[in-house]
Protein backbone atom coordinates (compact mmCIF):
# COMPACT_ATOMS: atom_id res chain seq x y z
CA UNK A 1 0.00 0.00 0.00
CA UNK A 2 2.23 2.78 1.29
CA UNK A 3 5.98 2.63 1.67
CA UNK A 4 5.83 0.75 4.94
CA UNK A 5 3.49 -0.89 7.39
CA UNK A 6 3.32 2.15 9.62
CA UNK A 7 2.25 4.42 6.77
CA UNK A 8 -0.32 1.90 5.55
CA UNK A 9 -1.87 1.70 8.97
CA UNK A 10 -1.95 5.48 9.27
CA UNK A 11 -3.76 5.69 5.98
CA UNK A 12 -6.13 2.89 6.98
CA UNK A 13 -6.88 4.52 10.32
CA UNK A 14 -7.81 7.81 8.68
CA UNK A 15 -10.05 6.33 6.05
CA UNK A 16 -11.91 3.57 7.89
CA UNK A 17 -12.49 6.08 10.64
CA UNK A 18 -13.78 8.80 8.38
CA UNK A 19 -16.01 6.54 6.29
CA UNK A 20 -18.25 5.37 9.09
CA UNK A 21 -17.70 7.93 11.83
CA UNK A 22 -21.14 9.55 11.71
CA UNK A 23 -23.11 6.33 11.95
CA UNK A 24 -20.68 5.23 14.63
CA UNK A 25 -21.26 8.45 16.52
CA UNK A 26 -25.01 7.85 16.37
CA UNK A 27 -24.56 4.26 17.55
CA UNK A 28 -22.12 5.18 20.30
CA UNK A 29 -24.29 8.06 21.46
CA UNK A 30 -27.46 5.98 21.54
CA UNK A 31 -25.61 3.11 23.18
CA UNK A 32 -24.28 5.43 25.85
CA UNK A 33 -27.80 6.69 26.50
CA UNK A 34 -28.94 3.07 26.83
CA UNK A 35 -26.95 2.73 30.05
CA UNK A 36 -29.79 4.77 31.50
CA UNK A 37 -32.50 3.07 29.50
CA UNK A 38 -34.83 2.27 32.41
CA UNK A 39 -34.14 5.59 34.08
CA UNK A 40 -35.06 7.49 30.91
CA UNK A 41 -38.17 5.35 30.51
CA UNK A 42 -39.25 6.23 34.03
CA UNK A 43 -38.69 9.92 33.42
CA UNK A 44 -40.80 9.82 30.26
CA UNK A 45 -43.83 8.61 32.23
CA UNK A 46 -44.69 11.41 34.65
CA UNK A 47 -48.00 9.73 35.45
CA UNK A 48 -46.11 7.29 37.63
CA UNK A 49 -43.76 9.73 39.30
CA UNK A 50 -46.00 9.87 42.33
CA UNK A 51 -47.44 7.27 44.64
CA UNK A 52 -46.14 4.17 42.85
CA UNK A 53 -42.46 4.08 43.77
CA UNK A 54 -41.59 1.29 46.15
CA UNK A 55 -38.59 -0.87 46.92
CA UNK A 56 -38.59 -4.63 46.50
CA UNK A 57 -40.35 -6.13 49.49
CA UNK A 58 -39.69 -9.73 50.19
CA UNK A 59 -42.45 -10.04 52.80
CA UNK A 60 -44.98 -8.66 50.36
CA UNK A 61 -44.12 -11.08 47.59
CA UNK A 62 -46.90 -13.54 48.23
CA UNK A 63 -49.54 -10.83 48.59
CA UNK A 64 -48.35 -9.11 45.44
CA UNK A 65 -48.44 -12.33 43.44
CA UNK A 66 -51.96 -13.10 44.64
CA UNK A 67 -53.10 -9.57 43.83
CA UNK A 68 -51.52 -9.84 40.40
CA UNK A 69 -53.08 -13.15 39.59
CA UNK A 70 -56.57 -12.07 40.53
CA UNK A 71 -56.15 -8.73 38.76
CA UNK A 72 -54.98 -10.39 35.57
CA UNK A 73 -57.67 -13.06 35.76
CA UNK A 74 -60.27 -10.29 35.97
CA UNK A 75 -58.85 -8.04 33.27
CA UNK A 76 -57.03 -10.31 30.87
CA UNK A 77 -58.48 -13.80 31.11
CA UNK A 78 -57.97 -14.52 27.41
CA UNK A 79 -54.52 -12.94 27.04
CA UNK A 80 -51.61 -14.71 25.36
CA UNK A 81 -49.36 -14.16 28.33
CA UNK A 82 -49.21 -12.40 31.67
CA UNK A 83 -46.36 -10.62 33.39
CA UNK A 84 -45.96 -9.64 36.99
CA UNK A 85 -42.98 -7.31 37.27
CA UNK A 86 -41.64 -6.65 40.75
CA UNK A 87 -39.95 -3.48 41.84
CA UNK A 88 -36.16 -3.35 41.68
CA UNK A 89 -33.58 -0.60 41.95
CA UNK A 90 -33.77 0.66 38.36
CA UNK A 91 -37.50 0.15 37.95
CA UNK A 92 -38.97 0.89 41.34
CA UNK A 93 -42.59 -0.08 40.90
CA UNK A 94 -44.86 -3.10 40.70
CA UNK A 95 -46.77 -3.72 37.51
CA UNK A 96 -49.13 -6.25 36.01
CA UNK A 97 -48.99 -6.60 32.24
CA UNK A 98 -50.36 -8.79 29.52
CA UNK A 99 -50.24 -9.38 25.82
CA UNK A 100 -53.45 -9.70 23.83
CA UNK A 101 -53.89 -12.61 21.45
CA UNK A 102 -52.17 -11.56 18.23
CA UNK A 103 -54.46 -10.59 15.39
CA UNK A 104 -54.51 -12.55 12.13
CA UNK A 105 -51.09 -12.49 10.49
CA UNK A 106 -49.37 -10.76 13.40
CA UNK A 107 -46.70 -12.38 15.52
CA UNK A 108 -47.36 -10.30 18.61
CA UNK A 109 -50.45 -8.91 20.21
CA UNK A 110 -50.86 -5.54 21.88
CA UNK A 111 -49.10 -5.09 25.20
CA UNK A 112 -50.76 -3.59 28.26
CA UNK A 113 -49.17 -2.57 31.50
CA UNK A 114 -50.98 -1.46 34.63
CA UNK A 115 -48.98 -0.05 37.50
CA UNK A 116 -49.90 -0.61 41.12
CA UNK A 117 -49.62 2.21 43.63
CA UNK A 118 -47.21 1.74 46.50
CA UNK A 119 -49.99 1.22 49.04
CA UNK A 120 -51.42 -1.50 46.80
CA UNK A 121 -54.92 -0.02 46.69
CA UNK A 122 -55.02 1.68 43.32
CA UNK A 123 -53.96 1.03 39.75
CA UNK A 124 -52.55 3.51 37.24
CA UNK A 125 -53.83 2.50 33.83
CA UNK A 126 -53.47 5.65 31.75
CA UNK A 127 -49.80 6.24 31.05
CA UNK A 128 -48.71 8.26 28.04
CA UNK A 129 -47.43 6.28 25.12
CA UNK A 130 -43.67 6.66 24.88
CA UNK A 131 -40.71 4.51 23.90
CA UNK A 132 -38.58 6.26 26.50
CA UNK A 133 -35.13 4.76 26.94
CA UNK A 134 -36.00 1.82 24.70
CA UNK A 135 -35.88 4.18 21.75
CA UNK A 136 -32.17 4.82 22.33
CA UNK A 137 -31.55 1.16 23.05
CA UNK A 138 -33.14 0.09 19.77
CA UNK A 139 -31.55 2.99 17.90
CA UNK A 140 -28.09 1.74 18.73
CA UNK A 141 -28.45 -1.44 16.70
CA UNK A 142 -31.76 -1.22 14.81
CA UNK A 143 -31.38 2.41 13.73
CA UNK A 144 -34.82 3.65 12.63
CA UNK A 145 -37.13 3.91 9.61
CA UNK A 146 -35.67 0.72 8.13
CA UNK A 147 -35.96 -3.05 8.55
CA UNK A 148 -34.09 -4.21 11.65
CA UNK A 149 -32.14 -6.78 9.68
CA UNK A 150 -30.72 -4.25 7.23
CA UNK A 151 -29.88 -1.91 10.10
CA UNK A 152 -28.08 -4.61 12.02
CA UNK A 153 -25.90 -5.41 9.03
CA UNK A 154 -25.08 -1.74 8.59
CA UNK A 155 -24.23 -1.38 12.27
CA UNK A 156 -22.18 -4.59 12.20
CA UNK A 157 -20.23 -3.34 9.21
CA UNK A 158 -19.53 -0.02 10.93
CA UNK A 159 -18.54 -1.84 14.11
CA UNK A 160 -16.00 -3.91 12.24
CA UNK A 161 -14.60 -0.72 10.72
CA UNK A 162 -14.39 0.69 14.20
CA UNK A 163 -12.45 -2.36 15.34
CA UNK A 164 -10.05 -1.85 12.43
CA UNK A 165 -9.73 1.85 13.24
CA UNK A 166 -8.92 1.07 16.86
CA UNK A 167 -6.35 -1.61 16.06
CA UNK A 168 -4.64 0.50 13.40
CA UNK A 169 -4.86 3.47 15.75
CA UNK A 170 -2.92 1.55 18.38
CA UNK A 171 -0.38 0.46 15.80
CA UNK A 172 0.35 4.01 14.63
CA UNK A 173 0.47 5.37 18.11
CA UNK A 174 4.15 5.20 18.93
CA UNK A 175 4.18 7.27 22.03
CA UNK A 176 1.10 5.91 23.70
CA UNK A 177 2.34 6.46 27.23
CA UNK A 178 3.76 9.93 26.73
CA UNK A 179 0.67 11.16 24.93
CA UNK A 180 -1.38 9.93 27.83
CA UNK A 181 -0.18 12.96 29.76
CA UNK A 182 -0.07 15.57 27.06
CA UNK A 183 -2.82 17.94 26.17
CA UNK A 184 -1.76 21.16 24.54
CA UNK A 185 -4.83 23.39 24.20
CA UNK A 186 -5.11 26.34 21.86
CA UNK A 187 -2.74 24.99 19.25
CA UNK A 188 -5.00 24.23 16.35
CA UNK A 189 -4.88 20.78 14.89
CA UNK A 190 -2.20 19.78 17.44
CA UNK A 191 -4.81 20.26 20.17
CA UNK A 192 -7.42 18.30 18.29
CA UNK A 193 -4.97 15.47 17.83
CA UNK A 194 -4.19 15.59 21.54
CA UNK A 195 -7.90 15.58 22.32
CA UNK A 196 -8.41 12.62 20.01
CA UNK A 197 -5.51 10.80 21.68
CA UNK A 198 -6.63 11.50 25.21
CA UNK A 199 -10.23 10.41 24.65
CA UNK A 200 -9.07 7.30 22.79
CA UNK A 201 -6.23 6.22 25.03
CA UNK A 202 -7.76 6.94 28.42
CA UNK A 203 -10.72 4.70 27.69
CA UNK A 204 -8.96 2.37 25.27
CA UNK A 205 -9.81 -0.88 27.08
CA UNK A 206 -13.41 0.23 27.11
CA UNK A 207 -13.42 1.09 23.40
CA UNK A 208 -11.93 -2.26 22.45
CA UNK A 209 -14.24 -4.13 24.78
CA UNK A 210 -17.44 -2.42 23.68
CA UNK A 211 -16.61 -2.77 19.98
CA UNK A 212 -15.71 -6.45 20.14
CA UNK A 213 -18.55 -7.41 22.45
CA UNK A 214 -20.87 -5.41 20.21
CA UNK A 215 -20.01 -7.80 17.41
CA UNK A 216 -20.44 -10.73 19.80
CA UNK A 217 -24.01 -9.74 20.70
CA UNK A 218 -25.16 -10.30 17.13
CA UNK A 219 -22.51 -12.80 16.10
CA UNK A 220 -24.87 -15.57 15.08
CA UNK A 221 -26.36 -13.25 12.49
CA UNK A 222 -23.00 -12.02 11.17
CA UNK A 223 -21.17 -15.33 11.32
CA UNK A 224 -23.55 -18.29 11.13
CA UNK A 225 -20.94 -20.58 9.57
CA UNK A 226 -20.05 -22.49 12.71
CA UNK A 227 -23.65 -23.64 12.94
CA UNK A 228 -23.56 -24.52 9.25
CA UNK A 229 -20.62 -26.88 9.60
CA UNK A 230 -21.21 -28.27 13.09
CA UNK A 231 -25.01 -28.53 13.02
CA UNK A 232 -25.67 -28.68 9.28
CA UNK A 233 -27.20 -25.24 9.48
CA UNK A 234 -29.89 -26.34 11.93
CA UNK A 235 -29.87 -23.35 14.27
CA UNK A 236 -32.78 -24.81 16.25
CA UNK A 237 -30.71 -27.88 17.13
CA UNK A 238 -27.81 -25.62 18.05
CA UNK A 239 -29.94 -23.49 20.36
CA UNK A 240 -31.47 -26.59 21.90
CA UNK A 241 -28.05 -27.94 22.77
CA UNK A 242 -26.97 -24.58 24.09
CA UNK A 243 -30.03 -24.27 26.27
CA UNK A 244 -32.12 -27.44 26.56
CA UNK A 245 -34.78 -25.60 28.55
CA UNK A 246 -35.76 -23.28 25.76
CA UNK A 247 -38.10 -25.75 24.16
CA UNK A 248 -41.24 -23.81 23.42
CA UNK A 249 -44.66 -25.37 23.80
CA UNK A 250 -47.79 -24.67 21.84
CA UNK A 251 -51.12 -24.07 23.56
CA UNK A 252 -53.14 -27.26 23.89
CA UNK A 253 -56.41 -25.53 23.10
CA UNK A 254 -58.15 -27.14 26.05
CA UNK A 255 -58.84 -25.14 29.15
CA UNK A 256 -57.41 -25.95 32.54
CA UNK A 257 -57.36 -24.15 35.86
CA UNK A 258 -54.14 -22.19 36.40
CA UNK A 259 -52.40 -23.05 39.64
CA UNK A 260 -52.29 -20.42 42.37
CA UNK A 261 -48.97 -18.81 41.51
CA UNK A 262 -47.91 -18.10 45.07
CA UNK A 263 -48.02 -21.84 45.80
CA UNK A 264 -44.88 -22.15 43.68
CA UNK A 265 -42.90 -19.86 45.96
CA UNK A 266 -41.56 -22.61 48.28
CA UNK A 267 -40.13 -24.46 45.28
CA UNK A 268 -38.55 -21.26 43.99
CA UNK A 269 -37.21 -20.59 47.44
CA UNK A 270 -35.66 -24.04 47.66
CA UNK A 271 -33.57 -23.34 44.54
CA UNK A 272 -32.79 -19.66 44.82
CA UNK A 273 -33.07 -18.95 48.52
CA UNK A 274 -33.89 -15.34 49.25
CA UNK A 275 -32.71 -13.99 45.90
CA UNK A 276 -35.10 -11.23 44.82
CA UNK A 277 -37.59 -12.23 42.13
CA UNK A 278 -37.69 -9.84 39.19
CA UNK A 279 -40.66 -11.07 37.24
CA UNK A 280 -43.11 -13.88 36.75
CA UNK A 281 -44.31 -14.69 33.26
CA UNK A 282 -47.28 -16.94 32.51
CA UNK A 283 -47.65 -18.27 29.00
CA UNK A 284 -51.12 -19.31 27.84
CA UNK A 285 -52.90 -18.71 31.15
CA UNK A 286 -55.94 -20.95 31.45
CA UNK A 287 -54.64 -23.43 28.87
CA UNK A 288 -53.71 -27.04 29.67
CA UNK A 289 -50.19 -26.32 28.40
CA UNK A 290 -49.62 -23.14 30.39
CA UNK A 291 -46.11 -22.44 31.65
CA UNK A 292 -45.04 -20.28 34.57
CA UNK A 293 -41.52 -18.81 34.56
CA UNK A 294 -39.83 -17.13 37.50
CA UNK A 295 -36.98 -14.73 36.75
CA UNK A 296 -34.63 -13.52 39.43
CA UNK A 297 -32.72 -10.31 39.83
CA UNK A 298 -29.11 -11.31 39.10
CA UNK A 299 -27.92 -8.20 40.88
CA UNK A 300 -24.25 -7.45 40.49
CA UNK A 301 -23.24 -10.83 39.14
CA UNK A 302 -21.38 -10.46 35.83
CA UNK A 303 -23.78 -12.54 33.84
CA UNK A 304 -26.27 -11.96 31.11
CA UNK A 305 -28.08 -15.25 31.48
CA UNK A 306 -31.60 -14.65 32.53
CA UNK A 307 -32.45 -18.29 33.03
CA UNK A 308 -35.90 -18.79 34.48
CA UNK A 309 -37.32 -21.48 36.70
CA UNK A 310 -40.11 -22.97 34.62
CA UNK A 311 -43.20 -24.68 36.07
CA UNK A 312 -46.12 -26.47 34.55
CA UNK A 313 -48.96 -23.99 35.00
CA UNK A 314 -51.55 -26.62 35.88
CA UNK A 315 -49.76 -29.20 38.00
CA UNK A 316 -47.10 -26.85 39.38
CA UNK A 317 -44.38 -29.36 38.56
CA UNK A 318 -40.93 -27.84 38.15
CA UNK A 319 -39.85 -28.48 34.57
CA UNK A 320 -36.37 -27.03 34.64
CA UNK A 321 -33.56 -26.66 37.03
CA UNK A 322 -32.22 -23.14 36.80
CA UNK A 323 -28.70 -24.30 36.25
CA UNK A 324 -27.52 -24.43 32.67
CA UNK A 325 -24.70 -26.70 31.66
CA UNK A 326 -21.58 -24.66 32.10
CA UNK A 327 -18.25 -24.65 30.32
CA UNK A 328 -15.38 -22.31 29.67
CA UNK A 329 -16.72 -21.33 26.28
CA UNK A 330 -20.17 -20.56 27.62
CA UNK A 331 -18.86 -18.56 30.53
CA UNK A 332 -16.60 -16.57 28.24
CA UNK A 333 -19.51 -15.81 25.95
CA UNK A 334 -21.75 -14.92 28.87
CA UNK A 335 -19.13 -12.61 30.34
CA UNK A 336 -18.57 -10.83 27.04
CA UNK A 337 -22.31 -10.32 26.67
CA UNK A 338 -22.60 -9.08 30.23
CA UNK A 339 -19.76 -6.62 29.70
CA UNK A 340 -21.60 -5.13 26.76
CA UNK A 341 -25.00 -4.83 28.38
CA UNK A 342 -23.60 -3.91 31.82
CA UNK A 343 -26.74 -5.12 33.60
CA UNK A 344 -24.58 -5.79 36.64
CA UNK A 345 -23.41 -2.19 37.04
CA UNK A 346 -24.51 -0.46 40.22
CA UNK A 347 -24.93 3.34 40.08
CA UNK A 348 -21.28 4.38 40.35
CA UNK A 349 -19.98 1.76 37.94
CA UNK A 350 -22.86 2.64 35.62
CA UNK A 351 -21.81 6.27 35.68
CA UNK A 352 -18.28 5.17 34.82
CA UNK A 353 -19.61 3.18 31.85
CA UNK A 354 -21.60 6.24 30.81
CA UNK A 355 -18.51 8.46 30.99
CA UNK A 356 -16.51 5.93 28.99
CA UNK A 357 -19.28 5.95 26.40
CA UNK A 358 -19.10 9.74 26.22
CA UNK A 359 -15.32 9.48 25.79
CA UNK A 360 -16.02 7.18 22.87
CA UNK A 361 -18.29 9.84 21.37
CA UNK A 362 -15.53 12.39 21.95
CA UNK A 363 -13.01 10.10 20.28
CA UNK A 364 -15.15 9.79 17.16
CA UNK A 365 -16.06 13.48 17.09
CA UNK A 366 -12.51 14.75 17.55
CA UNK A 367 -11.28 12.30 14.92
CA UNK A 368 -13.64 13.57 12.24
CA UNK A 369 -13.06 17.21 13.25
CA UNK A 370 -9.32 16.64 13.02
CA UNK A 371 -9.71 15.39 9.47
CA UNK A 372 -11.76 18.43 8.44
CA UNK A 373 -9.32 20.84 10.04
CA UNK A 374 -6.34 19.33 8.33
CA UNK A 375 -7.94 19.22 4.92
CA UNK A 376 -8.92 22.85 5.34
CA UNK A 377 -5.31 23.57 6.20
CA UNK A 378 -4.24 21.85 3.01
CA UNK A 379 -6.65 23.91 0.96
CA UNK A 380 -5.72 27.12 2.69
CA UNK A 381 -3.94 28.62 -0.30
CA UNK A 382 -6.91 27.94 -2.51
CA UNK A 383 -9.30 29.36 0.05
CA UNK A 384 -7.27 32.54 0.38
CA UNK A 385 -7.61 33.07 -3.34
CA UNK A 386 -11.35 33.05 -2.83
CA UNK A 387 -12.07 29.53 -4.05
CA UNK A 388 -14.72 27.36 -2.44
CA UNK A 389 -13.56 24.48 -0.29
CA UNK A 390 -13.69 21.12 -2.04
CA UNK A 391 -16.88 19.08 -2.01
CA UNK A 392 -15.38 16.45 0.28
CA UNK A 393 -14.43 19.03 2.85
CA UNK A 394 -17.84 20.70 2.74
CA UNK A 395 -19.51 17.31 3.12
CA UNK A 396 -17.40 16.29 6.09
CA UNK A 397 -17.81 19.65 7.79
CA UNK A 398 -21.55 19.52 7.21
CA UNK A 399 -21.91 16.00 8.57
CA UNK A 400 -19.77 16.92 11.54
CA UNK A 401 -22.02 19.82 12.40
CA UNK A 402 -25.15 17.72 11.85
CA UNK A 403 -24.15 14.84 14.07
CA UNK A 404 -21.90 16.38 16.69
CA UNK A 405 -24.03 19.41 17.42
CA UNK A 406 -27.27 17.79 16.25
CA UNK A 407 -27.41 14.72 18.47
CA UNK A 408 -27.59 16.51 21.85
CA UNK A 409 -30.14 18.90 20.40
CA UNK A 410 -32.24 16.09 18.92
CA UNK A 411 -32.13 14.24 22.24
CA UNK A 412 -33.45 17.24 24.11
CA UNK A 413 -36.11 17.62 21.42
CA UNK A 414 -37.15 14.04 22.19
CA UNK A 415 -37.48 14.84 25.90
CA UNK A 416 -39.44 18.03 25.20
CA UNK A 417 -41.73 16.21 22.78
CA UNK A 418 -42.37 13.62 25.48
CA UNK A 419 -43.75 16.29 27.78
CA UNK A 420 -45.26 18.79 25.37
CA UNK A 421 -47.13 16.66 22.83
CA UNK A 422 -50.79 16.08 23.74
CA UNK A 423 -51.01 13.21 26.21
CA UNK A 424 -53.36 11.28 24.00
CA UNK A 425 -52.79 11.42 20.27
CA UNK A 426 -52.48 8.82 17.55
CA UNK A 427 -48.98 7.35 17.15
CA UNK A 428 -47.73 9.46 20.01
CA UNK A 429 -44.64 7.37 20.71
CA UNK A 430 -43.69 7.52 17.04
CA UNK A 431 -44.09 11.29 17.00
CA UNK A 432 -41.67 11.70 19.86
CA UNK A 433 -39.16 9.78 17.77
CA UNK A 434 -40.05 11.82 14.68
CA UNK A 435 -39.24 14.96 16.66
CA UNK A 436 -35.78 13.54 17.32
CA UNK A 437 -35.12 12.96 13.64
CA UNK A 438 -36.80 16.19 12.47
CA UNK A 439 -34.44 18.13 14.72
CA UNK A 440 -31.48 16.22 13.36
CA UNK A 441 -32.66 16.92 9.81
CA UNK A 442 -33.10 20.63 10.60
CA UNK A 443 -29.55 20.83 11.88
CA UNK A 444 -28.50 19.05 8.70
CA UNK A 445 -30.33 21.70 6.67
CA UNK A 446 -28.56 24.45 8.59
CA UNK A 447 -25.29 22.66 7.93
CA UNK A 448 -25.95 22.86 4.19
CA UNK A 449 -26.13 26.64 4.43
CA UNK A 450 -23.78 27.65 7.17
CA UNK A 451 -20.99 25.75 8.88
CA UNK A 452 -19.27 28.68 10.48
CA UNK A 453 -17.95 28.79 13.99
CA UNK A 454 -20.84 31.04 14.97
CA UNK A 455 -23.22 28.36 13.81
CA UNK A 456 -21.50 25.76 15.98
CA UNK A 457 -21.63 28.13 18.89
CA UNK A 458 -25.30 28.86 18.36
CA UNK A 459 -26.30 25.20 18.13
CA UNK A 460 -24.30 24.22 21.19
CA UNK A 461 -25.78 27.09 23.14
CA UNK A 462 -29.33 26.17 22.15
CA UNK A 463 -28.73 22.56 23.16
CA UNK A 464 -27.18 23.72 26.43
CA UNK A 465 -30.14 25.93 27.27
CA UNK A 466 -32.59 23.18 26.32
CA UNK A 467 -30.85 20.67 28.60
CA UNK A 468 -30.39 23.14 31.44
CA UNK A 469 -34.12 23.82 31.34
CA UNK A 470 -35.07 20.14 31.61
CA UNK A 471 -35.61 20.30 35.40
CA UNK A 472 -37.91 23.26 34.79
CA UNK A 473 -39.78 21.33 32.11
CA UNK A 474 -40.06 18.43 34.50
CA UNK A 475 -41.56 20.47 37.33
CA UNK A 476 -43.99 22.24 35.01
CA UNK A 477 -45.28 19.10 33.32
CA UNK A 478 -45.13 16.50 36.07
CA UNK A 479 -45.79 18.65 39.11
CA UNK A 480 -42.77 17.15 40.82
CA UNK A 481 -39.66 19.28 40.97
CA UNK A 482 -36.13 18.64 42.14
CA UNK A 483 -37.04 19.47 45.72
CA UNK A 484 -40.08 17.17 45.80
CA UNK A 485 -38.00 14.39 44.33
CA UNK A 486 -35.28 14.98 46.85
CA UNK A 487 -37.71 14.91 49.75
CA UNK A 488 -39.40 11.74 48.51
CA UNK A 489 -35.97 10.20 47.75
CA UNK A 490 -36.66 9.53 44.09
CA UNK A 491 -33.03 9.23 43.14
CA UNK A 492 -33.67 8.10 39.59
CA UNK A 493 -35.62 11.24 38.67
CA UNK A 494 -33.20 13.38 40.58
CA UNK A 495 -30.31 11.73 38.78
CA UNK A 496 -31.93 12.35 35.42
CA UNK A 497 -32.36 16.04 36.13
CA UNK A 498 -28.82 16.42 37.44
CA UNK A 499 -27.30 14.60 34.49
CA UNK A 500 -29.22 16.85 32.09
CA UNK A 501 -27.95 19.93 33.93
CA UNK A 502 -24.42 18.55 33.90
CA UNK A 503 -24.53 17.79 30.18
CA UNK A 504 -26.14 21.17 29.54
CA UNK A 505 -23.33 22.91 31.41
CA UNK A 506 -20.76 20.96 29.44
CA UNK A 507 -22.35 21.97 26.14
CA UNK A 508 -22.63 25.53 27.42
CA UNK A 509 -18.95 25.52 28.23
CA UNK A 510 -18.14 24.34 24.71
CA UNK A 511 -20.41 27.04 23.32
CA UNK A 512 -18.63 29.62 25.46
CA UNK A 513 -15.22 28.44 24.32
CA UNK A 514 -16.42 28.76 20.75
CA UNK A 515 -17.22 32.45 21.06
CA UNK A 516 -15.49 34.62 18.51
CA UNK A 517 -11.90 35.28 19.57
CA UNK A 518 -11.14 38.92 20.20
CA UNK A 519 -7.48 39.07 21.06
CA UNK A 520 -4.77 36.67 20.24
CA UNK A 521 -6.50 35.06 17.32
CA UNK A 522 -3.68 32.70 16.68
CA UNK A 523 -4.12 31.03 20.01
CA UNK A 524 -7.70 30.04 19.58
CA UNK A 525 -8.08 28.20 16.37
CA UNK A 526 -11.03 25.98 16.73
CA UNK A 527 -13.52 24.08 14.65
CA UNK A 528 -13.80 24.90 11.04
CA UNK A 529 -14.03 28.62 10.61
CA UNK A 530 -10.39 29.44 11.19
CA UNK A 531 -7.49 27.96 9.36
CA UNK A 532 -5.45 26.53 12.19
CA UNK A 533 -1.84 27.42 12.62
CA UNK A 534 0.77 25.99 14.88
CA UNK A 535 2.75 22.87 14.56
CA UNK A 536 1.67 20.39 12.01
CA UNK A 537 4.76 18.34 11.55
CA UNK A 538 3.50 15.42 13.56
CA UNK A 539 -0.01 15.38 12.23
CA UNK A 540 1.12 15.80 8.64
CA UNK A 541 1.65 12.05 8.57
CA UNK A 542 -2.03 11.44 8.86
CA UNK A 543 -2.78 13.32 5.71
CA UNK A 544 -1.45 10.66 3.45
Amino acid sequence: MKENFFRSMTWLHTWVGLLVCWILLLVFFAGTMSYYRHEISLWTKPEIHQAVMQPYQHQQLQAQINQGQSYLANHASDAKDWHIEFAYERRPYLSFGWQDQPEEGQRRGKFHEHIITADGTDVVTEVRESRGGHFFYRLHFDLHYMPAKVARWIVGFCTLFMLLAIISGIVIHKRIFKDFFSFRPGKGSRSWLDGHNVSSVLALPYHLMITYTGLITLMMMYMPWGVVTAFDGDSRAYRAELNPQRVSVKPAGTGAQLITLSQLLPQVHSVWGDTPIKRIAVRYPGDANSRVSFYRNTGQAVTDQRTPLVFDGVSGEMLSAAKLPSSGARQTHDTLMALHTARFAEPILRLLFFICGLMGCAMIATGSLLWAIKIRQKQQKRLQLGDKPSFGLRLVEGLNLTFIAGLPLATSAFFYANRLLPEVMPARAQWEINCFFITLALVGLIACINRSRRCWQLLFSVAAIALLAIPLLNVLTSGQGIIDNFVSAQWILLGFDSLCVLMGSLLGLIGYKLRAPKVNQARRTRRTSMPPRGQIAHVAKLEE
Binding site: Y212, W225, V228, A230
Partner: protein, 99 residues
Protein backbone atom coordinates in the same frame (compact mmCIF):
# COMPACT_ATOMS: atom_id res chain seq x y z
CA UNK B 1 -6.96 -4.81 -29.11
CA UNK B 2 -3.66 -3.45 -27.93
CA UNK B 3 -5.15 -0.04 -27.25
CA UNK B 4 -7.96 -1.66 -25.35
CA UNK B 5 -5.65 -3.62 -23.08
CA UNK B 6 -3.53 -0.54 -22.48
CA UNK B 7 -6.58 1.35 -21.39
CA UNK B 8 -7.46 -1.46 -19.04
CA UNK B 9 -4.01 -1.47 -17.61
CA UNK B 10 -4.14 2.28 -17.06
CA UNK B 11 -7.46 1.89 -15.27
CA UNK B 12 -6.14 -0.90 -13.09
CA UNK B 13 -3.13 1.18 -12.12
CA UNK B 14 -5.25 4.12 -11.01
CA UNK B 15 -4.99 4.79 -7.27
CA UNK B 16 -8.76 4.86 -6.81
CA UNK B 17 -9.08 1.42 -8.37
CA UNK B 18 -6.24 0.10 -6.25
CA UNK B 19 -7.95 1.33 -3.13
CA UNK B 20 -11.30 -0.10 -4.17
CA UNK B 21 -9.69 -3.44 -4.93
CA UNK B 22 -7.89 -3.47 -1.61
CA UNK B 23 -11.06 -2.56 0.28
CA UNK B 24 -12.84 -5.29 -1.66
CA UNK B 25 -10.24 -7.85 -0.66
CA UNK B 26 -10.44 -6.76 2.97
CA UNK B 27 -14.23 -6.84 3.09
CA UNK B 28 -15.07 -9.87 0.92
CA UNK B 29 -11.98 -12.06 0.94
CA UNK B 30 -11.50 -11.16 4.60
CA UNK B 31 -15.04 -12.27 5.37
CA UNK B 32 -14.54 -15.46 3.40
CA UNK B 33 -11.44 -16.23 5.44
CA UNK B 34 -13.22 -15.49 8.71
CA UNK B 35 -16.21 -17.59 7.67
CA UNK B 36 -14.13 -20.60 6.68
CA UNK B 37 -12.00 -20.28 9.81
CA UNK B 38 -15.20 -20.14 11.86
CA UNK B 39 -16.63 -23.17 10.06
CA UNK B 40 -13.45 -25.16 10.52
CA UNK B 41 -12.98 -24.33 14.20
CA UNK B 42 -16.60 -25.24 14.89
CA UNK B 43 -15.98 -28.83 13.84
CA UNK B 44 -12.29 -29.19 14.65
CA UNK B 45 -12.05 -27.86 18.17
CA UNK B 46 -11.98 -30.62 20.79
CA UNK B 47 -15.09 -29.53 22.69
CA UNK B 48 -18.80 -30.17 22.80
CA UNK B 49 -20.38 -29.06 19.53
CA UNK B 50 -22.25 -26.07 20.92
CA UNK B 51 -19.15 -24.90 22.79
CA UNK B 52 -16.89 -25.09 19.78
CA UNK B 53 -19.44 -23.14 17.74
CA UNK B 54 -19.38 -20.43 20.39
CA UNK B 55 -15.60 -20.26 20.50
CA UNK B 56 -15.29 -20.39 16.72
CA UNK B 57 -17.80 -17.59 16.20
CA UNK B 58 -16.32 -15.40 18.92
CA UNK B 59 -12.83 -15.77 17.46
CA UNK B 60 -13.88 -15.30 13.85
CA UNK B 61 -14.07 -11.51 14.25
CA UNK B 62 -10.42 -11.45 15.25
CA UNK B 63 -9.64 -13.41 12.10
CA UNK B 64 -11.66 -10.92 10.07
CA UNK B 65 -9.88 -7.93 11.59
CA UNK B 66 -6.45 -9.46 11.04
CA UNK B 67 -7.32 -10.35 7.45
CA UNK B 68 -8.45 -6.79 6.77
CA UNK B 69 -5.27 -5.37 8.26
CA UNK B 70 -3.27 -7.81 6.17
CA UNK B 71 -5.04 -6.62 3.02
CA UNK B 72 -3.89 -3.10 3.65
CA UNK B 73 -0.38 -3.97 4.70
CA UNK B 74 0.87 -6.04 1.74
CA UNK B 75 2.53 -4.22 -1.19
CA UNK B 76 -0.09 -5.00 -3.84
CA UNK B 77 -3.82 -5.57 -3.79
CA UNK B 78 -3.47 -8.56 -6.12
CA UNK B 79 -1.41 -10.22 -3.47
CA UNK B 80 -4.00 -9.41 -0.84
CA UNK B 81 -6.69 -11.09 -2.92
CA UNK B 82 -4.49 -14.03 -3.79
CA UNK B 83 -3.31 -14.77 -0.25
CA UNK B 84 -6.68 -14.39 1.41
CA UNK B 85 -8.49 -16.45 -1.21
CA UNK B 86 -5.84 -19.16 -1.09
CA UNK B 87 -6.00 -19.31 2.69
CA UNK B 88 -9.81 -19.53 2.57
CA UNK B 89 -9.62 -22.28 -0.03
CA UNK B 90 -7.18 -24.17 2.18
CA UNK B 91 -9.46 -23.85 5.17
CA UNK B 92 -12.42 -24.94 3.07
CA UNK B 93 -10.55 -28.06 1.99
CA UNK B 94 -9.80 -28.79 5.63
CA UNK B 95 -13.50 -28.43 6.44
CA UNK B 96 -14.29 -31.00 3.75
CA UNK B 97 -11.59 -33.25 5.15
CA UNK B 98 -12.63 -32.99 8.80
CA UNK B 99 -16.39 -32.87 8.26
Amino acid sequence: MLVESKRWRALLAKPSFMIASRAGSAIFAGYLLAATACGLMAIALPMAAADSVLVATMLSFTVYACAALYSFSVPSSTRAWRDLLLASAGLYLLILLVG
